[in-house]
Each structure stands twice: as structure tokens, then as C-alpha cells.
């Protein structure tokens, strides 16, 4: 018989008090990543579990001032079905729809996906490419971090023991902006990616890039942002020459490994080809 205790606070303050206590509980959101770890003894079973399921505020989606604030306990299904998510970041909606299958999407949460910090996670690439920020709360207050800085290394995140991810904030896709998302795996559902990538590219009315966000998962210890490429793209046109150089730079940036799901060479090649296509697949600014 387990003598684990189960705590399900109804207010955020109560949850943060629990996190500040000396016997820090394991935080349970959807549980789709935690349960397999606990049951297969990858992680020891916790003595105390803090469930977020009664925190209504963590399941809200609200837009304000060009940003969409997504409560950390919103499920992937909520992301897939939200008109606002599709409007603010179509790539994020597309990514959420590729996670596991419907059963997992109904249970797993955006905050859990980020906190679990799998290098193959599907949501970090579109969120990093869009320039998303995280709200982290503790009894000392709330701080915001850029999502790409939140991931510090393999399964290493910028989250103190007394802190909780409470929301993800995503800036709205500008009118001449376009997003792409692609997950390459062995099967359409229930597959962990060989390569997962996303971009947010914004053109000016004159047809040159004014902003670029490009990020890949499953090609490094954590999500990889192609910062050199992003800067290089600014001021350039979405033509063949730009696309070819962007493909080359992508292959240079990524440092994937050979593992059971794929090879390093294949991953670099696929990521490069995706960027080659994305760069050229842009709206015509002259079109009405």
C-alpha cells in the first residue's frame, strides 16, 4: 500500500504554498509523461503529488494586446480546437494535433509538454519560432522568460523548485507572416519524431523578410533555434538563392545524433530541405 499523499488545491496561492514547503510535491498536470515514468520505475514514485486539475485559471485561453495567453494546464485538444490559437499561431495548432493520438491530446497539457523538456517534444519548435514567453509563478511573485532561454540543456529547464509554469504567451502572427510546422516520424500518430520543426517568417510589403523564427526538435539535446540563419534572412527575398543558402546554414547549425529513431545525416538533410521549402513558400505581397 502506498502512503503517498494527494493534494489538489483550488487556488494558485495554495499550490504555490505547497511548492515552497520543505517536502516538495511532484507536480501532476495531465500525467501522460509522468505515469509511464513512475510505473516503469524510471522515476521513483513520489511521496506527495500536487495535482493541478482543480486550478480553473490554468485552463483559460485569453488574448490581450497582440498576445495570446495560454494557461499552462490547457490540453492539446484545447489548442487544436481553439480559433484563437489557429489565428495567433497556426503552427502551434498543427503541432498539438500531431501529439500522440486523441486520447493523449485530451489528457496532456502545454505546460506539461514544456516542463517534461523532451528534446523530441512537438510544441517547443513552433513556440520558440513564434517568440513565445513563459510566465513562472512562485510565492515570491511572477517572472517571465523567453521560451528559448527556458530550455538550458538536455532535460534541464530554468524552473526553480518552488516555481510553477502558469502560462505560455504567444505573439500574434503578423498579416504578412506565415508559419509552417512539420513532424517527420515513422507513423502519423503515436510516433516520436525523427525531426520536428517549425518556422514563423514575416515579409515586408516590399517582399523582404523582416522577422524570422526557425526551430527544430529531435536534432539536439533540446529544441534548437537557428539564430544565425534567422538574422541572415532579414532583408533578403524568398527566392531560390536565399532558400539554397538557408538550407546549407540549417545543416550547419543542427547537431543531431544517430539513435534508434533515425540517423544524424538523415535528420540534417530533412531539416535542410524543410527550410528550403519554407523560405520560398511565402505570400505574394503584391496580391490583393
Amino acid at each position: 500500500m502506498s502512503n503517498t499523499s494527494f493534494i489538489a488545491p483550488v487556488t494558485l496561492d495554495q499550490a504555490l504554498d505547497e511548492l515552497a514547503a520543505p517536502d516538495k510535491p511532484a507536480v501532476l498536470a495531465g500525467g501522460t509523461d509522468l505515469w509511464p515514468q513512475w510505473t516503469s520505475s524510471v522515476e521513483p514514485r513520489p511521496a506527495k503529488v500536487l495535482s493541478l486539475h482543480r486550478l480553473e485559471g490554468l485552463r483559460q485561453l485569453t488574448s490581450q494586446g497582440g498576445w495570446l495567453r495560454i494557461g499552462a494546464a490547457c490540453t492539446h485538444t484545447q489548442l487544436v480546437n481553439s480559433r484563437e490559437v489557429r489565428e495567433f499561431s497556426p503552427a502551434l495548432a498543427a503541432a498539438a494535433a500531431t501529439i500522440g493520438a486523441i486520447q493523449i491530446q485530451n489528457q496532456g497539457t502545454i505546460g506539461g509538454n514544456l516542463a517534461n523538456a523532451s528534446p523530441a517534444a512537438d510544441l517547443p519548435p513552433p513556440l520558440v519560432a513564434a517568440g513565445a514567453r513563459l510566465e513562472l509563478a512562485s510565492r515570491c511573485g511572477t517572472r517571465e522568460v523567453d521560451l528559448d532561454r527556458f530550455f538550458e540543456g538536455y532535460r534541464k529547464i530554468d524552473l526553480r523548485a518552488d516555481e510553477l509554469i502558469i502560462a505560455v504567451r504567444v505573439p500574434k502572427l503578423p498579416p504578412l507572416g506565415r508559419e509552417h510546422f512539420r513532424k517527420v516520424g515513422t507513423r502519423r500518430a503515436q510516433a516520436i519524431s525523427k525531426v520536428v520543426g517549425s518556422c514563423r517568417l514575416v515579409l515586408s510589403a516590399k517582399g523582404v523578410f523582416t522577422a524570422a523564427g526557425i526551430a527544430f526538435g529531435s536534432v539536439g539535446p533540446t529544441v534548437i533555434r537557428c539564430t544565425d540563419l534567422e538574422q541572415w534572412l532579414i532583408g533578403r527575398r524568398p527566392d531560390l538563392e536565399t532558400a539554397e543558402e538557408a538550407e546549407r546554414m540549417t545543416r550547419e547549425t543542427l547537431r543531431p545524433i544517430d539513435d534508434l529513431r533515425s540517423s544524424a545525416d538523415y535528420r540534417k538533410h530533412v531539416a535542410g530541405r524543410l527550410v528550403f521549402r519554407w523560405v520560398q513558400d511565402q505570400p505574394d505581397p503584391a496580391a490583393p
Binding site: 494527494f6 493534494i7 500525467g31 501522460t32 505515469w35 500522440g100 493523449i104
Partner: protein
């Protein structure tokens, strides 16, 4: 705050009142109990199967408040009072459930049967929300239910048949109504 259990010498228990297959049930369980174990072992709902135990196969699918979920990944305590749980046992004496079961049986969509309860629940959830799904929507809805007898084609056909039967009966009922109102 709801601190439902305190670590003491005696195992701490949690109590929940749920509607399982239309019937109100009160259950007591220890904090780290999986919903799968509780429903199978305590409630005797043997339609739930533990295939992989890690959210890959869909054999333990149930419908909770109109959503299909995996009981191997849910801590029973995460479900609050009033949750409505439907398992394959609850698909009898239920029009849509009957139609699905008939279509599966007649269409040869059942081989060893291990995946069948989960597939039926997934199909039921889909057809309840979308009575006339496209083949692609059926595929997407059942993508998380693995069948190792390689019976997917017949499963997908059976769901389509069950949906079509509804359309036919729906159309017949509509025709009856028109007759009633025609002098």
C-alpha cells in the same frame, strides 16, 4: 484546500462519487491508484485491457465526460466527483452502442478482441460528436487504438456502416414524420 490524505501509518484513502455507465458509484482508493486498476479490479469492468500500460495502444480507452481517455495514464484521484465514465460494458441497451457492436460483429471487425472495447469506445465518442464522419476523420479518431491482428480495414468499414445505419434510420424517421403531417 483539499488535502485528501495525510501520510500516516494507515494507508490514506480517497473517496469519489462518479457516474459509471449511467449508475452512481462511490469508490474508495489509495492515492496512486490508476483509473485502469480501479475500474477493472474493484468495479469488475473487464472490457478495459492493459495492453502497453504507457499510453501507446488504446486498449484501456474509456469515455470520460464525452472525451476518450486512457485509464492507464490517469490517476483515479484526478477525476473529481460527478465525472461520467462510459466503458464498453455501457454500450449495451444503447442505440449507438448497439449499432456499432452489430456493425463490428457482422463486418468481421473483431478478431482476437483485445483491442475491440477500446476501439468501440473511440468509435462511439466519434459518432456521438460527428454522426457522419469522413473516412479520414474515422482514421484520425482511431489512430490511437492499435490492433495487432491487422484488422484496420474492417474496423474502419464497420464504423462507416454504423454511421450510415444512423443516417438511414434518421432519414426513415424523417420520412415517417413527413407522412404524419401530410393529410
Amino acid at each position: 484546500m483539499m488535502t485528501e490524505s495525510i501520510s500516516t501509518a494507515s494507508p490514506s484513502m480517497i473517496t469519489r462519487r462518479w457516474i459509471i455507465n449511467g449508475e452512481e458509484r462511490t469508490l474508495r482508493f489509495s492515492p496512486l491508484t490508476r483509473l485502469l486498476d480501479l475500474l477493472r479490479e474493484e468495479e469488475g469492468l473487464n472490457s478495459l485491457k492493459e495492453g502497453c500500460g504507457e499510453g501507446e495502444c488504446g486498449a484501456c480507452s474509456v469515455m470520460i465526460d464525452d472525451q476518450v481517455r486512457l485509464t492507464c495514464l490517469i490517476m483515479a484521484a484526478q477525476l473529481d466527483h460527478g465525472a461520467r465514465i462510459l466503458t464498453a460494458e455501457g454500450l449495451t441497451h444503447n442505440d449507438l452502442g448497439d449499432r456499432l457492436q452489430r456493425a463490428f460483429g457482422e463486418g468481421g471487425a473483431v478478431q482476437c478482441g483485445y483491442c475491440t472495447p477500446g476501439v468501440l469506445i473511440g468509435s462511439y465518442t466519434l459518432l456521438q460528436a460527428n454522426p457522419a464522419p469522413s473516412p479520414e476523420q474515422v482514421r484520425a479518431a482511431l489512430a490511437g487504438n492499435l490492433c495487432r491482428c491487422t484488422g484496420y480495414t474492417k474496423i474502419l468499414e464497420a464504423v462507416t456502416v454504423a454511421a450510415a445505419v444512423e443516417e438511414v434510420t434518421g432519414a426513415a424517421a424523417a420520412a415517417e414524420k413527413v407522412k404524419e403531417h401530410t393529410p
